[in-house]
Amino acid sequence: MADVNLTIDGKKVTAPAGTLLIEAAKSAGIEVPSFCYYPNLSLQGACRMCLVKIEKMPKLQTACTTVISEGMMVTTDSDEVRQARKGMIELLLGNHPLDCPVCDAGGECELQDMTFSYGAAESRFIDVKNHRDEQQWSPVVYFDRPRCILCYRCVRVCGEGMDVWALGVQHRGVSSTIVPNQEDHLECEECGMCIDICPVGALTSGAYRYKTRPWEMKHVGTTCTHCADGCKTTLGVRRCSTGTELVRGDNRDKSGINGDFLCIKGRYGFDFAHHEDRLHQPLIRRNGRLTPCTWEEAFQLTGERLRQIRDREGGDAIAVIGSTRTTNEENYLLQKFARTVLGTNHIDHHRTADYPALVAALAGHPKLTASMRELFEAPAMLLIGNDPTRQHPLLAWQIRNNVRLHRARLYLVNAQPIKLRRQASSFFAIPAGREAEVAAFLAGQDSAVAAIASETSPEAWIRWRDQLRREPKLVVMFGSEIRGDAVASLIKFAADLPEAKLICLGDYANSRGAADMGLYPDLLPGYHPVTEVGEFHKDWGGVPEKPGLSLRQMAEHAQAGKLKALYVVGANPVEELGLDPFVFSQSFVVVEDLFLTETAAIADVVLPAANAYEKSGTFTNTCGDLQLVKKAGEVTGTKSDFEIIVRIADAMGVAVRKLVPFGRGSRADMGQSRGAQSGEADRHSVWLEARGLEPKMSPFDPMAILDEIQRLVPGYDVSRLHLLAGMDQHTSLSGSGPGTKHDPSAIMPARDDLFSSGTLGRYCRTLNAVLENGHKLAAEEEVAAE
C-alpha cells in the first residue's frame, strides 16, 4: 500500500496507508497509552486512554481507531492530552478497589503502570465503593468484577481469537458486566487466553492464585512438553523449601511461534512436576518387589546385566524403546547407545505419524515443508483429517487467525464435522477412513472419487480439485489418517502446484524429533537406512546393519523368550500401545520415567527421570521447527535421561567420550562471566555457546551431542546463534536419507483431547480438575433433562 506522511510530536513519520495512528506512533517510538486496543483484535474504542490531539479536529481523538492520513499533525503530549488521560484514570479508579497488595496482577498490572505514568495520585471521589464478591467461573478462571475496567479484550480474544465466544457483556453503560456463557460459570476451552490478555487483575488464574509475585519468580522461556505444536511457554520458577517449584506457566514472552497463544496444557499443564506420585529414588526389584536403592546400585546393576546379556546373547537379545517427549539430544544419544554399545537395531518409539513415508515421498522436492509461522501467512490452506482444535490447538489458532486477519481460504476434508469448518471456505465430509482416497484423487486418480463422494457430488470434487490446483500458495496439512502411499500421492499433488508446502501432524511434543533422530529399527538419524553404510558407520565405528524389530515385533520376540533385556526411556508401551505386560516377564526390564507407570511397574530397575521442564536440549515440532528447551526447575532425586544413559554406558565399561564427544578439540575459553547470579544473561557464555565454542567439559552436556547432530543430521544445520537466542529454526527434510515404507498399522495416534496428554496428563492436577468439572457439569445436565 502507498505510504502516508504525517507528523507526530514534531517527528516526521511514514507508514503504509491504512495504518492506525496508535501503531504509527509506536513505530516512531512514541507511546500512546491504551487499554482496549490490542493488536490483531477488532477495534473497540472503549477506554479513551489513547486520546490525542489532531490538528483541525475540534476534540481529542482516539488514536486506536483513527487511520492515518496524509499531512496529519498529531500531538500526543500536551497539557490537554495529559489532563484527559488523568481524567480517564481517575474515572477508572472511581470504583476500583485498593486491592493491589492482594491482587494477583500486582506488579504486572497495566492499570498500576498507567496510574504511575499518567494518573493522578489522589482521587476526588469520596463515595463508598461498590463491592462485589469474587466469582469462580471454572477451575482455572476467577473473576473479580470491581477490578474490571471494561476493556472487552477478554470478550474479543475468546470470540475472535479462540472462536469459543464464551464471554459476553451484560447491561449497558456503567452497569456493563463481563459474564460467562453459563450465567455463573464457564464452559469453554479453558485456555486462559482471557486471563493472559486482561490488563488488570479482574480475570485471574486458579492455578497461580495468591501464590507469589511476578518479581519473586525467575522466568524461563522454554518449549511446551505436551502436543507437537511446540509453543513457547514461560515458566515462573520460585525457590521453595524443597528446591525449586514451577509456580506458573504463561506467555509472558510473546516472541515464540505461538505469538499470543497458549492452550490449557501449555499454560497449566506443568504441575505434574510436583505430583506426589513422582519418583524420587531409583527402584530395584528385590525378591519380587520394587525397593528403593541408591543411584550407584541402580547403575551398577543395569550396566552389569546389560553387558552380560550383550556379551552372552548378543545385541539381538536387547531391545530399546525411546520417547516422544525426550529431547533430540537424548533421542540421538539413546539410539547411538543402542546401536554402538548394545549392538542392536531393535529400537523404536510410539509412532504417531508417518514421517519416513513423508521423507521418502519428498525425495527430489526440496523445501516442501512449511513452518508454523508460514502457516499463519499462507493465503490458502488444505487440511485432510485430524481435528486441530482438540489435538493441535496452536495449529488451529494459526488457521483461524489466518482466515480472520488475512482472509485466507481454508479447504477442509474430514470424516467428522470438526469445529474448524466454521472458518472453512469449503468443507467436504467423507466417510470415515477414506482420507487416503482423497489423497489419491488429488494426485489425479479420478476413480478414487467414488469412494469419497458420498455427501458431495463427484463434479463438486472435481471443481474443488481444480480450484486447489489454481491456488498460487497452498499449505497442505494432514493427520495420521494419511500414511504410506497416501502420503506419496499428496506430495505428488503438491509438487505439481505453483507453490505448496506440507505439514504432517504427529502427536507428542517431540514425535518429529524422535523420528528425525532415528528411533526406528531400520532408520538412522536423518532417515538413513541402517543397511546402507554411510557417515554414521564411519563416525561411530560400526553399526549393526540388519534392521531391527518394531514395537510389536519386540513383544513377540519377548513372548518367544528371545528378548533378554528391554530398556524403556520415557515411554509407557504397556498402557499406550496396549502391550501385554506379561510377555516381558522373562526379560530384564529397565524403565526411566517420572512416575510408576504400567510399564515401570513390571520393571526390574526403575530410574526416576527429569521431565522436559527440568533439563536442556532441543525439541522439533510437528512442522520441523527446532526450538530450545531450557531448564526451569529441578526436583530432588531425579536425573535427566541424558545423564542416565551416559551413566549406564559408563557402568557398562564404555569409553564415554566415544558416545558424547565432550571436551574435545576446544581451547577452553572460560572468560569472565558476570551478572548471571543477578538474573542478567551471561553474555559471554551465550556468545561462546552460539559459536559452539563453550568448553563442554561434561559428558552430561547435551550441547556436545547437538554438535554431532548438526554435523550429521541433514536439515539440522541451522543457526546455533538464533537457536540459543530462543528463536525457532525450521529444519527442512531435504537432504535426508531416502526414508522408507513402513507398515501403516504401526502408527497409533495418541487421540489426546484438549484436556488430556498421554501418561503425563494423568498427573496434571489442573487438567484433571477441568475434566472432572466437565463430567460433573455433564451429569448435572442429564439430571436437568430428565
Binding site: C100, P101, V102, E134, Y210, K211, T212, W215, C240, S241
Partner: protein, 196 residues
C-alpha cells in the same frame, strides 16, 4: 648469622635510646596527665548503662523509642494477622532477607483480614541491616521494628526467624490466656504452620 643479627639490633636500639632521652621524659609527662583525668573520673557518678546487670526486664538497657530492633508482625483489632503476603517488603529489602510463601484464606481457616496471608514468613537476621525499608513498603502496616536486640547466636541458622517468632502477641481480650497459654501471649505458635 643469627648472633650477628641480634648484635646489630642491640647496637641500633642503644643508639636510639641515647638520642631519644628527651622524648622519653615527655612521654612520662603525657601519661601522668592522662591518668590524672582517669583518677578524677573514677570518683564521679557512673554514666554508662548497667547492662546486663541492671534492673527490670531490659536488664538495664535503655534506648530511644525509634530504635529499630527485631521486627514485629502486627495483628489487627480482631487478632488477625495484618500481613496479606503482598511481598512488597521482600521486594523493598536491600539485603534480600525476607522469604514469604503466600496462601489463600478460607472461611474455615482465616489467618489474615484479606484474601491471602503469609503461610511462611522468614527474616534472615544474618543479612538484615535494620534499614526499615520493609516497614516503609508495607501497605498494611503489618511489619514494624520492635525493640528486640538480643539476637546474637552461636549458630547462624538460629538467626533465621520464622513467623511464629515475629508475630505480635494476641491481645488478652481475644482469648489469649496469660495463665494457661504463655505461647499465645508471647506471640508464639498459635497457628500451626504447614511445611515449616
Amino acid at each position: 648469622m643469627v648472633s650477628a643479627g641480634i648484635g646489630w639490633a642491640l647496637a641500633t636500639s642503644v643508639v636510639r635510646y641515647t638520642s631519644c632521652k628527651m622524648s622519653f621524659l615527655k612521654g612520662i609527662a603525657a601519661i601522668a596527665k592522662g591518668m590524672s583525668i582517669t583518677f578524677r573520673e573514677m570518683f564521679q557518678p557512673t554514666q554508662v548503662e548497667n547492662y546486663p546487670d541492671g534492673p527490670g526486664p531490659l536488664r538495664g538497657a535503655k534506648f530511644q523509642e525509634r530504635y529499630r530492633g527485631v521486627h514485629v508482625l502486627q495483628r489487627d483489632e480482631n487478632g488477625l494477622e495484618k500481613c496479606v503476603a503482598c511481598f512488597l517488603c521482600a521486594a523493598a529489602c536491600p539485603a534480600n532477607c525476607i522469604y514469604i510463601e503466600a496462601a489463600e484464606n478460607t472461611s474455615a481457616h482465616r489467618v489474615s483480614g484479606a484474601e491471602r496471608y503469609a503461610r511462611v514468613y522468614n527474616i534472615d537476621y544474618n543479612r538484615c541491616i535494620f534499614c526499615a525499608y520493609c516497614v516503609e513498603a508495607c501497605p498494611t502496616d503489618a511489619i514494624t521494628h520492635g525493640h528486640g536486640f538480643e539476637i546474637a547466636a552461636f549458630n547462624a541458622t538460629n538467626l533465621i526467624f520464622r513467623k511464629e517468632q515475629l508475630l505480635a502477641a494476641k491481645p488478652g481480650h481475644l482469648g489469649a490466656n496469660a495463665v494457661f497459654n504463655q505461647v499465645e501471649v508471647a506471640g508464639g505458635a498459635a497457628l500451626p504452620v504447614p511445611g515449616s
